[in-house]
């Protein structure tokens, strides 16, 4: 029997939300764009896309999303953040504006723009635990770095020097790079299969 189709929301306040939606649609998920608290209802998972984290944080606040998003995650909604999304999910954010509230869905600290400016952005491939078929394609754009990982946080992907590039804590997955800008769907498939489906 086919497993039940999962309903995945993609936070559509600002950023590359269409790319995530296209990937998830391609993997057979039922997707919808989410901007307001009521639209979190009934989601199995939520993607927080890349974009500008200060802008997304501002809009999360204006839209009254902080409390409802945390509550939905608390009730079991899986969350997958890439780049700016990963920044927003962290317990604390280095380099954020002082009035910016972290969503605090994961016990990690994160440092914004930790690789430098746009000129230091790059593409590469990285290993990813739990994904078959070798390293995954990854685009790093003004990417953040994870630090100070809590004991419940597992590193799924790391650079050769041990730098964590993707981390998971229960039903939360945060990735420093952009799989959605590539044609490699395996990180999204991992989210659907192993995080949402866990």
């Amino acid at each position: 029997m086919e497993p039940a189709r999962k309903t995945i929301g993609v936070l559509a306040l600002q950023g590359a939300f269409r790319e995530h939606r296209r990937m998830l649609d391609g993997l057979g998920a039922d997707t919808r764009l989410v901007r307001w608290p009521g639209e979190l209802e009934g989601l199995d998972g939520l993607v927080i896309p890349g974009g500008e984290s200060t802008a997304i944080a501002k809009l999360l606040d204006i839209h009254g999303m902080y409390g409802p998003l945390r509550a939905a995650h608390g009730r079991g909604m899986a969350v997958f953040g890439t780049c700016a999304g990963a920044i927003l999910m962290a317990r604390d954010i280095e380099g954020a504006r002082p009035d910016q509230e972290p969503l605090a869905l994961m016990d990690v600290r994160i440092r914004r723009n930790a690789y430098g400016r746009q000129i230091d952005s790059f593409e590469t491939t990285v290993p990813f635990a739990g994904v078959e078929g070798g390293p995954v394609k990854a685009v790093f754009i003004r990417a953040p770095r994870f630090a100070d990982l809590g004991s419940g946080v597992r590193v799924l992907s790391a650079a050769d020097d041990g730098e964590p590039l993707a981390v998971r804590e229960g039903r939360a997955l945060a990735v420093a790079f952009h799989p959605e800008l590539t044609d490699d769907v395996r990180v999204h498939a991992y989210f659907l299969g192993s995080v949402v489906g866990a």
Partner: protein
């Protein structure tokens, strides 16, 4: 981890993708940059004078002073863009060396070359360029632009040219969609654009890079209008800091851009914004002072 490649087309266009649904604001000093960041701008454009003042001031408009650009880079954590003159590849080299995140090869400044644009493939930093129609957009993309900006008429507070250029691009795309190969060769000739890019657009029905709207956006409704017409985000130049309450207007334009298809939200954020910039009727501008016609 395999080798890291920087300055690739993917890294450049991908960065532009991250700004979608957002507002890029012109700022002339660190204080304004902070106001823009506070309001939820996805990037700021650092320049010495907003287009309305360039228009009023006259003379040759050039790249901004590096000290001024560095002051803005230091003041905010969001990306910083800066403008070079059309064809002025040394100004572009300087901006890249200053660490700006995006270069706007802009008709708002006085062109430095009346025949050639910058070869943007020579740079690791991405470029955005203005366009009034599909052919112009594809010529800039062929030269290496990673993002397009429909020009509008800068510094006017009058959205009519922005609308015209957005509609022209959309109409041009609709016209070549579904053409047969032999027709596309002629379409490429007519558009004065490379065949491969024309073919790509005909197949996909959109530009191959992100397109923001610019040049005359002054209100939340203006921003939402451009979004509903199909752009990916907006540049607001003089419209914010030439208005009565820049912080409030900036935030309102950010909200309206996200909620561009929701009239209730646009109505709410449009209330009590104070005075909008005065604005200029396009036909009152002498022909030789129009900026949109610069670029070839």
């Amino acid at each position: 981890m395999t080798e890291q490649e920087s300055g690739t087309l993917k890294v450049k266009t991908g960065f532009a993708e991250m700004m979608k649904g957002g507002v890029i604001m012109d700022v002339v000093n660190p204080e304004q940059a902070k106001i823009a960041e506070d309001a939820g701008a996805v990037a700021v454009m650092a320049l010495e004078r907003v287009p309305a003042d360039i228009r009023a001031h006259g003379g040759v408009a050039r790249m901004s002073d590096p000290t001024m650009i560095e002051g803005i880079v230091a003041a905010v954590s969001i990306p910083v863009m800066a403008k070079c003159r059309i064809g002025h590849f040394v100004e572009a080299q300087v901006l890249q060396s200053l660490g700006v995140d995006f270069i706007d090869e802009s008709e708002v400044l006085t062109p430095a070359d009346d025949e050639y644009h910058v070869n943007k493939w020579d740079f690791d930093v991405p470029f955005v360029c203005g366009a009034r129609n599909l052919g112009e957009a594809l010529r800039r993309i062929a030269e290496g632009a990673a993002m397009i900006r429909t020009k509008g008429e800068p510094g006017t507070g009058n959205v009519v040219e922005a609308v015209r250029h957005m509609r022209t691009v959309t109409t041009d795309i609709a016209r070549i969609k579904g053409l047969r190969d032999e027709q596309l060769f002629t379409a490429a000739k007519d558009l004065q654009a490379p065949y491969e890019l024309v073919k790509w657009v005909a197949e996909h029905g959109c530009l191959p890079v992100v397109n923001f709207s610019a040049g005359g956006i002054a209100t939340p409704a203006d921003a939402a209008l451009m979004m509903q017409l199909g752009c990916d985000g907006v540049f607001v130049g003089s419209g914010i800091f030439k208005s009565g309450d820049p912080a409030k207007r900036a935030r309102a334009i950010v909200e309206a851009t996200t909620n561009y298809d929701d009239p209730d939200t646009i109505a709410r954020v449009s209330r009590d914004l104070g005075e909008a910039m005065v604005g200029i009727e396009i036909s009152d501008i002498p022909e030789n002072e129009l900026m949109a016609g610069r670029g070839w």
